[in-house]
Symmetry: C2
Subunit: 242 residues, 2 copies
Amino acid sequence: MAFDKPRNELYQWSVVSALVDGVASNGLPMSDLLLHGDHGLGTFRGMQGELIVLDGQGYQMRHDGTTRPIDLSPSGDITPFSMITFFSPTISTMASITEKNGVEPILAALTPNARNAHIAFRLDGAFKSITCRTAEGQCFEGEGLKDVVGRQVSITLGPARGTVIGFRSPEFLQGIAVAGVHMHFINEERTAGGHVLALETDGEVNVQVSELWRTIMDFPRDKQFNEAEMKLDAEGIRKAEG
Amino acid sequence: MAFDKPRNELYQWSVVSALVDGVASNGLPMSDLLLHGDHGLGTFRGMQGELIVLDGQGYQMRHDGTTRPIDLSPSGDITPFSMITFFSPTISTMASITEKNGVEPILAALTPNARNAHIAFRLDGAFKSITCRTAEGQCFEGEGLKDVVGRQVSITLGPARGTVIGFRSPEFLQGIAVAGVHMHFINEERTAGGHVLALETDGEVNVQVSELWRTIMDFPRDKQFNEAEMKLDAEGIRKAEG
């Protein structure tokens, strides 16, 4: 039987509020995550670095500035939080973007009927400048996202060719996902990138978009998740991940 | 190919915050909803009455005190919000319950490792008293849940044999689902019931429970949902649905 990939459905493992509470010791094997998509982002055990998945290939982007393909072996990488989809863009256009805040209005204009749905998007091309952060990871088990991100390392690349993988999520899903735009970048050489803090394109880049109307959400069956309080910290999430 | 029913996965159509905003003009045909489960609850177009699904059979319980099997024809009933699962209980026990607030501690004690997951449950037996409300429906398109429920009709049944179908959802999903316990009742004769406001068992009833670790959530692709603000009204939801 052929494996029918469910195109443009969002799969997510855990929720952002669990990361906020430091739930990052366990998670889904990356080999299982990739059964649910070829386009995604997330993090690693202990919030060590940033995950980007593009064209079915995942990379870890680490705080020391290095990157490596994710380890899909049985004892390999796991993810305590990720969002992924089999990306089948229904819109492809060119746009120039002068600041990170310019991404959301472009997406909103392209998908006026999906204001309250998730959007998956991808930007490809030349960036005049792109600033990325990579989380160094937890200093101790259960350390919260806010403190981890407080020690983030950021680098500014550019000019650089590369790809941004992102999701735009509606406001009412804050805490489940990241409300607004959440995006990770990796350069064309696959040697540098991270969570996007700022960007400016060098002329126009290709913008591809799909609307995601179905979400499949799995919760971790582990003690840390079970005990997490997960009170919504909307402002904290905006600062850490927005 | 045999249709493999995904046991103990939650399927939900839309979110509670959309109902709060009065998004109830359109929805999923009930015939499609039943592809996703045999145990569930929800509402109807215009919030007219309460939906209960048990053993794969759905009923509408209306404000005039009547009930009827749901209409599965192509032009039949639709639901603007529902939660459903193929219920395969992993726990079955007997318990006596003296008040509605007694349900949640029993569920919590039976599923200590699923504090942050959804729980599906079912109570069968004799109720000394059970008070149910049925929503009369919207007076105008887009009328919010709070105002609709303000006009609810409640009846107290008892002694009555029957079945409670319910879900217990974690606090961090308030607005997506109903945080805490949400349950609908129908009597053995299938002639009366509704959203449970109060209950007391007559001796012990059978309590069946399953943990739901996966959620599949579909969002409505319609103008009303797209335009809804869906600001979280936790207190309003607690009053209307808790």
